[in-house]
Amino acid sequence: MTLLELEDVTASYGPVQVLEGVSLSVPENGAFGILGANGAGKTTTLRAISATVRTGGRITFDGKDIRGLRPDQVAALGIAHVPEGRGTFGDLSVRENLRVGAYLRNDRKGIDEDIDYCLDLFPNLQERIGSNASALSGGEQQMLAVARAIMSKPRLLLLDEASLGLAPSTAKNVYDAIRRLRSESGIAMLVVEQNANLAFTLVDGATVLETGRNVLTGTTAELKGMDEIRRAYLGG
Amino acid sequence: GREGGGGGGGGGGSASPGITDDSVTLGVTTPLSGATAGPGTCTVAGVKAYFGAKNAEGGVEFGDGKTRTVDIRALDDTYDPQQAKANYDQLKNDVFAMTAGLGTPTNRAWRDAAIADEVPQVLIMTGDPLFSDTEESPWQLGFVPIYQNEGEAFGELLATSSEEHKVAILSQNDDYGEGYVEGFKSAIEGADNIEIVDELTYEATDTSVDAQITELASSGADIFFNAMSVTPLMIASLQKAQQLNWKPSWFLPSNTSSPGAILEPGGAAAYPGIYSVSFAKAPQSPAFAQDEDVVEYLAALKEHGDYPDPPAFPHCQWSWMIGATLEQAFGEMTEPTRENFMEALRSIEDFQAPLMLEGTAVNTSEEGQPAVSTLNVQKFNGKGYDTVESFG
């Protein structure tokens, strides 16, 4: 079953159109990747889903058209977006950040458990639990953003370069944990990632964007087998 | 001005700007918004009411035999000198004379220009003596008594007292407060039964004068001379002194002594005596409830002055009187020129304008004095005021 489907989606910032027609689909419990050069439109595609750019085309989630919703309404459907850059609440403590992530939930106990889970996953955050998020190091903030998204128990996770600024081992841990989430809780995910080596350990398939269009879509195995992909993204 | 002083100077009766055979336009610049909008609004309402009523009857008769309607063009200056000057610039070539505006700095801002342009700036509401100095201000004339006079009147009354008095003074930190204090002090000079025990100031922008009242209360004075022009602060002072159980006799200026708007909410009945000076009947006072002048005035204010409530500020009454005084001057004008108008205006003697208290009158020919310089000292009787001759 398809969970998320983009059909010929366009998007623009003010008068500047940057997506010229992007199509992709993420199956229930699936993981799909988006690759592309800087400026190709990866981030914009995720923003189109979470309703933070002006869009055209069709975006359906769970069979329903979600275009025209507000960002928080999209989130309420169970789509959690880990944005590019610092997506944390600088003046809130690490714990408060996590609590905000769980805003849509009301199961007190579950929330506390999940906070513990996240702190387990990111020992750095455990150490800085009471600090303001703005004091954290770049990588720690990235961890916090991912953790906050996990706190909302989403059905679909949008990850925009979640490994950005993470140490190699930490990046790996994060991806391991996300993979675990996928198998344990059945979360689906749409992943933008420059580190294609890492991304390919997670996703089943991916699309390559170029100037706001899909130029190539395939399964992980297919893509890995293509020379030009290896050259451009895998450094092989 | 481009006329280079031609405004009123044109010899031989060519009409000045702002006047035709059947109408004359007067300009007002006064605060209609901002902190002083309360009294400011009144300055327009009274004169508008006066001439509104006259116009409804056909107009005002001029000395040249013509009957003219009187239009008022009022602009808001928010008590900003610069804006007042701008308003003047805007009006000067369209109006016959400027009148009734409230405020010292706002009137001073264009005084020089009015002199240079030879535009009358008359019957304005400031107690600044400069405007009544004919030498310095040939095209000006104040209306209300200079602040010094008001302070003096009370000082003179106090000097007649047979008892010993200790006086505490609180005054607004500007020419208003200074004028009052100066007049008061000059009147009690030499009176050895009077001692000033403490003297403080406050800013018109203060939110509270509690500290001053507390400090003055500790002086043990039995007379409190409070030269204050801000209504809420006056009410608060009356309340605060009671709260401190300090019960002196008070002196209040003419514009902050309204029985309904200040004394009643302030709980003035608790004090042995509340004195003020006035030359106008207070419409709220029961003594004048049936007074013909007052009834006519209140009706006109509502109908022509666009002022529905009974006024809380005496400025409404004053500007009504300004209307009457102007009419008086118009009646003496033989030529439709500003110069002729100034002449006529300066020659009014003992004119008992409507709403004027017995014993006061408009006198425009007195050197160095505004149109009104006579005042009655009054004492609060629980409802309104009675004129008094001696302290106690």
Binding site: V16, L166, K172, Q194 | -
Partner: protein, 260 residues
């Protein structure tokens, strides 16, 4: 002249948190020096101590032999230190060119009055540096974006603009904080080439913080590994990558396998 950088027992504390603990090392003039370590190890903080944005709690920082700890960032910048930021900080509403020109500040002569009356000297200098900035952008494949507002560029390209801005300062010592983050593979290779060329042409010392081990391995002459604010080891990139402590604390077992 490329600068020499020496740190001697540099420590930094915020409240109770020990961010840096007695870190010492020396960067020789002309070296490309790597600084790696897990998240929160104190790499950026160390940069801040060098560039004057943080004042070390104790210890000595020397640039070309002069003690500079506690000096103001602006002073240090005036003496040939340039840096980029981990999180790119551009003037988003200004054009890319204006952003880059900011790097020319100290190289432009004249006081406020001279600029207000536009003396020929200031006009000439502005013109020259504008041309230089354009050329710099061109060389970094960003020439096409020179006149676009920075916020119309995608995130990944901001890094490049920041680098150009720092380069226009003509520094003797350049600190790069995760320059490769968010770049696709091909761009990382371009970056490596750029830094190499820099050293060759401009006689400059470079310190790089980076999690991209490929870049570190390809580029650096020497690396220091930080962990929890303390120096874990110092050596060549290859030594670091095979050091078990480093693998344990930083690279991760599997990742090390992958890279191998």
């Amino acid at each position: 002249m490329a600068a020499e950088l020496t740190l001697q027992d540099v420590s930094l504390q915020f409240g109770g948190i020990k961010v840096l603990q007695e870190v010492s090392f020396t960067v020789e003039p002309g070296q490309i020096f790597g600084l790696v370590g897990p998240n929160g190890a104190g790499k950026t903080s160390l940069f801040n101590c060098i560039s004057g944005h943080y004042k070390p709690t104790s210890g000595v920082v020397r640039i070309d032999g002069a003690e500079v700890q506690g000096a103001r960032p602006a002073t240090l910048a005036g003496h040939g230190l340039a840096r980029t930021f981990q999180h790119p900080a551009l003037q988003l509403h200004e054009t890319v060119l204006e952003n880059v020109l900011l790097g020319a500040h100290s190289r432009l002569p004249g006081g406020a009055l001279e600029w207000a009356v536009r003396t020929p000297r200031t006009r000439r200098a502005e013109k020259e540096l504008r041309a230089e900035a354009l050329e710099l952008l061109e060389r970094n494949d960003l020439g096409w974006a020179a006149h676009l507002p920075a916020d119309e560029l995608s995130h990944g390209l901001h890094k490049g603009v920041e680098l150009c801005r720092a380069l226009l300062m003509k520094p003797k010592l350049l600190l790069l904080d995760e320059p490769a983050a968010g770049l696709p593979h091909t761009e990382v290779e371009t970056l490596i080439a750029t830094v190499r060329r820099l050293r060759a042409e401009d006689d400059i010392t470079v310190v790089i913080v980076e999690h991209h081990m490929g870049l570190i391995a390809a580029l650096t002459d020497r690396v220091v590994v930080l962990d929890h604010g303390a120096k874990l080891m110092e050596g060549s990139a290859a030594e670091a990558q095979s050091d078990p402590r480093v693998i344990e604390a930083y690279i991760g077992k599997d990742a090390a396998d992958d890279a191998a």
